[in-house]
Symmetry: C2
Subunit: 420 residues, 2 copies
């Protein structure tokens, strides 16, 4: 049984590798035609997709899904239009493959260029949202990569229907048959098999809970682009505009709870504490946020709960925030280096030198000056479709779109050049 | 004993991490002053370094080093001048840190820039050549990284002397004390400890034999930049100039044996086989190269030895080459995909379409047209100092210099911008 599973996984990975060789030099026109015609085909197949989705919904309560999860799983005509729109947006993005990143001529006349190429095969593990199936397929193929999709079992029928439609269009327009493959089995052991196939798979991208990502990072024998949640900070500098501080903190914390770029911790300069903290606390209280405060902050935060050391390292992903008072910008930066996760941090300041110093000192994927932490997002940055937000520094950091799924090669043109 | 070793490794890694935070925003002037004054200081300390080197040389025979290895280990005034010159060349390179990779303004006026930053802490494992100690320290610090150096035990006294001098200059010019640290123990277990410290170490770069690199890649919990040897191919297209083919193959194979970018396998189009193979074989024979040939090639290679399947997958790193005849450029590309290692491949051709097709189809770190495979090298590419040549596609591919030791962060400037 296990040997059979292992064989079927290897067959998927090997055929993906073969497809990736074709994809690497596939003309942009063909990739874009596949995206646009797939968008049309998905809309035409609305009934077929909804029927498949109903099978998933019927099984959902058996999986113990929450109402919110069931809602995310549900497809209707409007959501299928949304999926189609997503594919059309990817078609409109510039093809990254073949871009010359730099080029120069060496003494002696040898010409060198650094040309962008696909990574090869992407193994993508993701949660139970059928729209992600089409999105990920589109991003990978547009960037010249083959993809092995391992979606949550809860959306299996919906994903299968979508991938089948993408495959029919692929056959028609000349995209390799195995460019997009869905792992058919829900056996969790399959993931373990794929994670050992570094000969075939160039990168694994796990999306989901921290436990899944840690397991994948520990087991994978190929590179992994990790996507952890963030313990994001807003630091209110001595020079901050109080109204701006109140609004940015409210937006960073409350615009959406439970997301990776929501603010989890507030740091405030002691010089502005008495002016700003009461207004911040009032606003956060009005939004139902519990405040865990250090000793100095406590005096200015009615109803604040004493914070423990653990609070400052916690990503609440919910209606709680920790608050600490600092004596300087440098102390804020040290606190962030100690407790933060390098995701997103913001400073609120009117002092240019402080803004420069903070953006220098803080080593996070995104450092905001007078803007909400919620902006760290590929869509908000205008980078186009994204397959995730990397919390790594290696290879890709922050939003991962088409370019983050690429590598490069050096092309060297000579005239019989020999090394002496 | 093991707990003590583990503690001392953690102390090194933790202090490197602290140093890396300072280095990240250290002014270029200070880094360059450190490089230039270190160059002077090494020359001034020639006697001290040679005395240390003599201790290594005295122990060398006890380690069973070959004469060639002992020669590489030996330092004299000229070689110390060479090390100093290397540091001066790094000082002359542009500082990659702070480079704005791109920048733009979003609708609504939020400004976004993608700024190059250091990776953080590099753990570098390398062979017993004392010049590499100074080179690696220079490359890492110039790119804003702290480095933990784990050199071969055979060069320990020489490396210690060099690192001590770099440290004295660091204290003088304001480079953090722990920017460059040499692992003092020769206990092999230390490497295992460091490879688990992904909280402190951002990347490991192992240089040495394939066994070492495989061990490091398997054990490391942080990213690894791998540097394997290459099974490099030269493909002689139907349209090739025969003289050029003979010269490029000789240079690719013989200019230096046993290096990663030397040619190990020759592929030749059947249409040019009868014209070109005899001349190629004569030249290679005159250089003492043994030829392992497939059936069709055999008729044109006097003294050729029948090749086995295994030959085509072998990196001889010595005076042997495999030779196969192909019916088309596509067959050559398929052969390379099957047997190659993605390091360096070359085509010899006068046909523009063939050159374009080959550079499209072949997925190697460097693809040469009418040039020797031996050019795949940071120095030959004019990229400046390098710490290795990556055979990975992820993060860095090909020569790894200053820029390959960096990441980036997004800096976002708003005016109280909120996400709606």
């Amino acid at each position: 049984m296990s040997a059979e599973l292992s064989d079927s996984c290897l067959k998927i990975a090997t055929s993906a590798k073969a497809a990736s060789r074709e994809l690497a030099s596939l003309d942009t026109t063909i990739k874009d035609r596949w995206l646009l015609e797939s968008a049309d085909a998905l809309i035409e197949a609305t009934d077929e997709i909804i029927a498949a989705n109903e099978q998933d919904l019927a099984a959902a309560s058996g999986y113990g899904l929450s109402d919110a999860s069931i809602d995310r799983l549900r497809l209707d005509a409007g959501r299928i239009e949304g999926i189609a729109t997503g594919l059309r947006e990817i078609a409109a993005l510039k093809d990254p493959i073949g871009e010359v990143l730099e080029g120069f001529t060496r003494p002696g006349g040898m010409r060198i260029e650094k040309r962008r190429v696909p990574l090869g095969v992407v193994f993508f593990i993701y949660e139970s949202r059928p729209n992600v199936t089409a999105d990920a397929a589109g991003i990978c193929v547009k960037s010249g990569n083959a993809v092995i999709l391992r979606g949550g079992k809860e959306a299996m029928h919906s994903s299968r229907a979508i991938v089948d439609i993408l495959g029919r269009v692929a056959a028609k327009v000349g995209v390799p048959e195995n460019a997009v493959q869905l792992v058919g089995t829900t056996d969790r052991a399959a993931v373990g098999h794929f994670l050992k196939m570094h000969e075939q798979i160039d990168v694994t991208i796990p999306r989901g809970g921290e436990g899944l990502i840690r397991r994948v990072a520990a087991e994978a024998t190929m590179p992994v682009i990790k996507h952890y949640d963030g313990n994001c900070h807003v630091y209110v500098d001595a020079s901050a505009d109080v109204d701006m501080a109140v609004n940015v903190i409210e937006n960073s914390k409350c615009q959406r709870l439970g997301v990776c770029n929501a603010c989890e911790s507030l740091l405030i300069h002691e010089q502005i504490m008495a002016d700003a903290l009461p207004a911040i606390a009032e606003r956060l209280a009005s939004r139902g946020i519990e405040m865990r405060v250090d000793k100095r902050a406590a005096a200015h935060v009615p109803g604040g709960v004493p914070a423990t050391e653990e609070d400052f390292g916690t990503e609440y992903l919910g209606p709680t925030i920790s608050i600490a008072v600092v004596d300087s910008l440098e102390e804020a930066a040290d606190h962030i280096a100690r407790y933060g996760s390098g995701h997103t941090e913001a400073i609120i300041t009117n002092d240019l030198a402080a803004a420069e110093r903070f953006t220098d000192l803080v080593d996070s994927a995104a450092v905001m000056v007078n803007a909400s932490t919620r902006f760290n997002d590929g869509g908000m940055f205008g980078l186009g479709a994204e397959i995730g937000i990397s919390t790594d520094k290696f290879h890709a950091r922050g939003p991962c779109g088409l370019r983050e799924l690429t590598s490069y090669k050096y092309i060297v043109r000579g005239n019989g050049h020999l090394r002496s």
